[in-house]
Symmetry: C2
Subunit: 368 residues, 2 copies
């Protein structure tokens, strides 16, 4: 594995890079569609490949519960083979579930006791078990098992939590048996000094890459950007950085300007299911009656299956009739938009005009 920064933007911390994994070479910046259970919501893995995606994020905890990571390993070799995804996979460790399944979780010093949302069964997930699950899935990039506290928690609770995360990070690293990559996760809520402490802890342990966790959970975009910018100096320049769960197009481009390389977010897929389409001229709410007689594609310059074949009026008709084909086509469009958006950003960094691109993009995108 190696990570090389190819270009550094002059006016910001944006950079393009090349992350060489045994399976595949990944160009950064890079966006990963969310494939929690080994598929994107509303679309197939082969469509993701056709769009051009090179890495997806899957959820180790969900796959551990159903159909079982050991089950996948024993019967299908690994998650790549199971989902027929030849490109890279990053797995979330299950740490985020501590946050999102809050009421079902009891944190203990050696791990987390999580009540299955499927059958109510109690599972103890420790750093060692999380790494074992991720190695059974054989993801190309694994995440440490972290404690992701609520961002509005008291200072002392977050301090406890990052110290716990630091211990769990060491144990995650020690538990790793494969040559798959392992990324640390910087927590610390909205407190800069705790973010700094957590970053120092992670860098000291030394990982293949560093993620920023616990952002985009209600702190608001200004704080997201501030913390991201603050951490830029604290994370090694020669390792990839991943901002977990970020985000909206405007959040991604801002985060890239603060030195982030890798993203994942449910926004393009979830918004498609909610009727929101992304274009470079801003968002479209397909439910709006004004689109019912619209003969144009979502975006006349887009080359996705929805835009090449169908009008906004037809897509709206499918959507208001609750047709599955609406979800398919709109999800494909949104993921195509995200892919093209990141490609444009990468090209602008390589052409040394990222800041111009960013300003022009935001002006046009946010105008609506």
């Amino acid at each position: 594995m190696s990570f090389t920064v190819l270009n550094n933007d002059k006016l910001s911390h944006a950079r393009s890079g090349l992350l060489k994994l045994p399976r595949i070479e990944l160009q950064t910046p890079l966006f990963m569609p969310v494939c929690t259970s080994g598929t994107p919501k509303g679309l197939t893995m082969s469509t993701l490949d056709n769009i051009g995606y090179k890495m997806v994020v899957c959820n180790a905890y969900h796959l551990f519960l159903k159909p079982g990571s050991r089950f996948i390993k024993n019967n299908f070799k690994d998650l790549h083979n199971f989902s027929n995804w030849k490109n890279a996979i990053l797995t979330d460790s299950g740490g985020f579930q501590i946050w999102s399944l809050d009421s079902l979780v009891k944190i203990q010093d050696d791990g987390a006791l999580i009540k299955s949302h499927i059958d109510g069964k109690l599972n103890k997930i420790t750093p060692e078990i999380s790494i074992q699950i991720q190695e059974e899935l054989n993801s190309d990039i694994m995440m440490i098992f972290d404690d992701c506290p609520k961002p509005n928690s008291e200072y002392s609770i977050i301090l406890d939590s990052i110290n716990r995360t630091s211990k769990w990070a060491k144990r995650s690293k020690n538990a790793k048996k494969s040559s798959n990559l392992l990324f640390g996760i910087v927590q610390g809520g909205i407190h800069k000094e705790l973010r700094r402490l957590s970053a120092e802890q992670m860098v000291e342990i030394n990982f293949d890459g560093y993620a920023i966790g616990g952002l985009g959970l209600g702190e608001g975009p200004q704080l997201t950007y501030e913390i991201t910018e603050y951490l830029n100096d604290m994370l090694p320049q020669d390792k990839p950085r991943y901002s977990m769960g970020i985000g909206r197009p405007e959040d991604i481009i801002e985060s890239i300007s603060y030195g982030i390389d890798i993203f994942d977010c449910v926004v393009p897929t979830r918004n498609a299911r909610n009727g929101t389409l992304f274009t470079f001229d801003g968002k479209i709410n397909i439910k709006n009656t004004k689109y019912s007689n619209n003969n144009n594609p979502i975006d006349i310059n887009c080359s996705c299956g929805a835009c090449l074949n169908y009008s906004l009026g037809y897509l709206r008709h499918l959507y208001v009739n609750n047709e599955i084909s609406a979800i398919q086509l709109m999800t494909e469009h949104n993921l195509n938009f995200y892919h093209e958006f990141i490609e444009n950003i990468k090209i602008s960094i390589n052409n040394c005009n990222f800041t111009d691109y960013k300003n022009n993009f935001l002006e046009r995108y946010l105008q609506k």
Copy 2:
């Protein structure tokens, strides 16, 4: 328009044919995927085209309600343009809704008063209005507006109903302004003498093709086959015949042996959503636990997107997780199976070995 029988089977009434429409030439036998509102359930129109389908059936009444047939004509020219379907479209007249929306319908001599299942609004559909709707949609083949009675209705009610259908058939024909084709519909429930009467009425009016309506509604396959066989002699050999809503693979191949050319049915799409997959070795219920560790595709000889890329185990995982991608992939497979099945039948008729093919197919398909 012309219809030419290309080959007549020696041992049955099966035949292959060529139906020349202004838009496209259609080979028969032919299966039409059901696209009630201008899309198949669970799949896009462009996937139907990729599979090789040349005609779909859409529902005039549903499209009249939403988004409106006049609306489609005024804003999108016609249903082909609206749904980006370059091949043929057959529209059902709305007559079947008299059966399926039973409690919302009041039959009158000049038409049917139908309460919208969407907004409760009363719409009077007459033969003239039905043809107008179908001409606004510009379907290649229109159906007369018929009265489709419940098959277990009393003899006198069905007699009334076919006489009404006969009157409506004449009015449908008189109302037609376009050069689009118009098919008559033979009703008559399970009473052969009423079927004969209805067929005579339809043939006397003289249509571009003849449909058998009101079958597959609970009378059981033996009666379906018996009535289909009985009508073979009564319908002109030089016009295409369409068995509405039939059916399962075994029903289709039997009906072809009794001289039917055209089919439509929700079975491949609805069964996919219910977890049933079709193969030449019989049906597969994806919910069965035994498939969870199955590394093989649904059918090793199938060239659909599901079989080329994914295992039964993975598809089962998607299905039990309620992933939309399961519906997409399973629907694609089932429609691919139906297309290949009909192609095989056509080839066997052209090669003069239909009955052998039929016997071999049924033996293998029904073994499970």
